[in-house]
C-alpha cells in the first residue's frame, strides 16, 4: 500500500467505514512509514477531541425549537422536505417533533466582514473629533486688546516713596499708606488670643482704594490679567498684614521688621511688573 492510497482510504476509515477495521496492508504501511503513521494518529486525536467538544457544548433542544419559531416568524426559513441524501450532521440532535426540515431563505450577506472591523476604529476617532470641534466652536477668544487706553485716573494718593521709578499714571502708594491700607484688616474682632489675632491678620484683606485704582488700570490688559494681578495683590497684602501684626506684637524683632520691608518690596515689584505692561 502506498501513501497516496492511505490518504484516499483514511477518511472512510476514520468515519467508521469497514466497521472500524483497517486493511492488513494498511497497518503494514503505517509501521514502515512514519509520515502516514503520524498523520493517522493526529487525525484520530482530532476526531476524538471534536466529539467531546461537541458533546460538552451542545445546547438543549428547546433552544433550537425557540430559534426555529423565531426564524419562521420572521420569514427567514420555511418548512420543506429534505431528501435523505442531504448532509447529515451527527453532532447535533434533531428536534423530536419537527417532521419537516426548515430551509434557510437566502439573504444577502456582506462579502467582506473585514471592512466592518476596519471601520470600527472610526468610532473613537469620531468621538475625539467631536470633542475637539465642540471645544473649538465653544471656545470664546480672549477679548481684543484695547487700542484705546482708559483715561488716567485722578491721582489722590500721596507722592510715592518707593525706590523704583513709577509712571505718573498710577503712583504706587507710599509705604505708610500701604501700611495703613494693608495692615488694617476689616472686621477683625479684638481678642486676647495670640493665635487668633495671627489667624485673623493672615486672612486676605480687601484691596484698598489705591489697589482698586491699580486694578482698574490693569483691567485694560484683559479680565484674566486683572484676575491674576488681583489674586497676587491679595496674597501680598495678606503677607504685609501678617508681618505687620507680628511686628506690632514684637517691636524689638529686627528681622521681622526687615521681613515687613521685604513684603512691601514685593508689592512694589507687583506694581512695577504690571505697570511695565501698560503702554
Amino acid at each position: 500500500m502506498t501513501c497516496s492510497e492511505v490518504e484516499r482510504v483514511l477518511p472512510e476509515l476514520l468515519d467508521g467505514g469497514s466497521n472500524g477495521a483497517f486493511p492488513p496492508d494498511f497497518d503494514a504501511h503505517l509501521k514502515c512509514c512514519p509520515t502516514c503513521s503520524d498523520l493517522v494518529s493526529d487525525l484520530k486525536l482530532i476526531a476524538s477531541e471534536a466529539r467531546q467538544l461537541a458533546a460538552s457544548e451542545e445546547p438543549a433542544s428547546r433552544v433550537w425549537v425557540r430559534i426555529a419559531a423565531e426564524l419562521r416568524a420572521e420569514g427567514l426559513i420555511r418548512d420543506s422536505a429534505i431528501p435523505d441524501s442531504a448532509i447529515h450532521d451527527s453532532t447535533i440532535r434533531e428536534p423530536e417533533f419537527a417532521p419537516a426540515r426548515p430551509v434557510v431563505v437566502p439573504v444577502p450577506v456582506p462579502a467582506s466582514p473585514r471592512w466592518r472591523w476596519r471601520a470600527l476604529w472610526l468610532a473613537p476617532v469620531a468621538a475625539a473629533v467631536l470633542v475637539a470641534s465642540a471645544y473649538v466652536i465653544s471656545h470664546k477668544p480672549a477679548p481684543q486688546v484695547a487700542t484705546q487706553q482708559a483715561p488716567a485716573p485722578a491721582v489722590t494718593s500721596p507722592a510715592p516713596v518707593t525706590p523704583a521709578t513709577t509712571p505718573a499714571l498710577v503712583p504706587a502708594p507710599a509705604p505708610q499708606q500701604m501700611a495703613k491700607n494693608s495692615a488694617k484688616p476689616k472686621g477683625v474682632s479684638g481678642n486676647g488670643n495670640e493665635i487668633g489675632r495671627v489667624a485673623e491678620a493672615a486672612a486676605e484683606p480687601e484691596p484698598s482704594a489705591e489697589d482698586q485704582q491699580f486694578l482698574s488700570v490693569v483691567s485694560t490688559l484683559g479680565p484674566s490679567t486683572r484676575a491674576t494681578y488681583e489674586s497676587q495683590l491679595r496674597a501680598v497684602n495678606a503677607d504685609i498684614q501678617e508681618t505687620q501684626a507680628y511686628v506690632d506684637r514684637n517691636p524689638g524683632d529686627a528681622d521681622a521688621r526687615q521681613h515687613l520691608m521685604d513684603a512691601y518690596q514685593q508689592k512694589a515689584l507687583l506694581y512695577q511688573i504690571a505697570l511695565d505692561r501698560i503702554q
Partner: protein, 306 residues
C-alpha cells in the same frame, strides 16, 4: 438542526451587520464633515502664521531688547558683530516693530486690532554676540538664554525663565508667578525676584547672588563658590540648600515662624545675632569663604549635604 443553527447565525449576523452598517455610515459621515471643518480652520490659521528674519550689524557690547506680550523668546550665541532675529508671527493681527540706533537694537510685538493671546503671539529666536547686553520681556514666555556672557535682564509675568551656562555677566530676573531656573551661572551678580514663583539655582556662584520670592520656594544646589555673598529670602516659601561635603561658607539662617535645621555640624562663630534652636542657626564650614544668609518669615529652611 444544522440548518436552524445556520439560520440563527445568519439572522444574528444580518442584524449586526445592518446595525453596524448604519452606525458606520453615520459615523463616517460625521467624521468627514467635522474633519473637513477642522482642517479648513487649521489651514486658515496656519496660513496666517508667518516668519520674518531680521539681521543687524553691531559693534562690541551691543544692547538688544525684545519685548512681546505673548510669546517665547530664546537667545543663543551667534557670530560677533551680527544679530539675527527670527520672529514667528501667529497671525496677521500682530506685527514686529524693530529699530536700530547705533549699537542698540529694539524689537517689540505690536498688537493690532483684534489681537488676543493666541493671535497676538510672536516667538523670537535670537542669535546674538556673546558679549551683548540682553533685555527680554514677555508676559507668557518662556524665556530662555544660554551660553552668553553679557548682562541679562529677563522679566515675565507668568513666564518660565531658564538661564544656563552664563558667565561673567550680571543676571537680573523678575517674575510674578513664573518659575525661574538658573544653572551654570558664574562669576556675575545675580538678582532674582519673584512674587510667587519658585526659584531653582544649580551651580550658581558669583560675588553676589540674591534671590527672593514671596510665596515661592528657593532651591539651591551648589557649593556657594569662594568669596561670594548669597542671600535667599522668602516670606512663606521654603528654602533648601544642598551643598557638597567640602563647602566653605559661613551660614546664618533664621525663620520667624518656620522651622530651621541643618543636617551637618557647623563650627560655631561669634555673631551679633542670637541663635534659637529650631528657629535659627549660625556657623561655618571649611574656611567660610562665602557668606550665606537664609531668611524666611514663615517658611522652612533646611541646609543639607548633597
Amino acid at each position: 438542526m444544522a440548518s436552524l443553527q445556520q439560520a440563527s447565525i445568519d439572522r444574528t449576523s444580518i442584524q449586526h451587520t445592518n446595525i453596524h452598517h448604519t452606525s458606520i455610515y453615520g459615523t463616517t459621515a460625521v467624521t468627514l464633515v467635522l474633519a473637513s471643518c477642522l482642517a479648513s480652520a487649521a489651514f486658515a490659521e496656519s496660513k496666517a502664521e508667518s516668519k520674518k528674519e531680521y539681521r543687524f550689524t553691531v559693534g562690541p557690547n551691543a544692547i538688544i531688547s525684545v519685548d512681546t506680550q505673548y510669546g517665547a523668546i530664546s537667545a543663543k550665541p551667534g557670530s560677533a558683530g551680527q544679530v539675527i532675529v527670527t520672529a514667528t508671527l501667529k497671525s496677521d493681527n500682530v506685527e514686529v516693530d524693530q529699530q536700530q540706533n547705533g549699537n542698540r537694537i529694539e524689537l517689540a510685538s505690536h498688537l493690532l486690532q483684534g489681537a488676543n493671546e493666541q493671535t497676538g503671539r510672536v516667538d523670537y529666536e535670537l542669535l546674538i554676540p556673546p558679549d551683548a547686553t540682553l533685555n527680554l520681556h514677555s508676559s507668557t514666555g518662556p524665556l530662555s538664554v544660554e551660553r552668553l556672557h553679557g548682562d541679562l535682564t529677563l522679566e515675565g509675568t507668568d513666564a518660565v525663565v531658564n538661564v544656563s551656562n552664563v558667565e561673567n555677566g550680571h543676571v537680573h530676573v523678575r517674575t510674578m508667578r513664573g518659575p525661574i531656573t538658573l544653572s551654570g551661572v558664574r562669576n556675575g551678580h545675580v538678582e532674582i525676584a519673584s512674587i510667587s514663583g519658585d526659584i531653582h539655582l544649580k551651580a550658581v556662584t558669583g560675588p553676589l547672588v540674591m534671590a527672593s520670592s514671596g510665596r515661592g520656594r528657593i532651591f539651591y544646589d551648589g557649593d556657594f563658590g569662594a568669596g561670594g555673598d548669597y542671600k535667599f529670602t522668602t516670606h512663606t516659601g521654603d528654602i533648601e540648600a544642598l551643598v557638597p561635603a567640602d563647602v566653605s561658607a559661613g551660614f546664618r539662617a533664621h525663620s520667624v515662624l518656620g522651622r530651621v535645621q541643618h543636617d551637618f555640624p557647623l563650627q560655631p562663630r561669634h555673631s551679633r545675632f542670637s541663635e534659637e534652636v529650631g528657629r535659627s542657626f549660625i556657623g561655618t564650614t571649611g574656611q567660610a569663604a562665602s557668606e550665606v544668609v537664609l531668611r524666611s518669615f514663615s517658611g522652612r529652611i533646611r541646609l543639607k549635604y548633597r
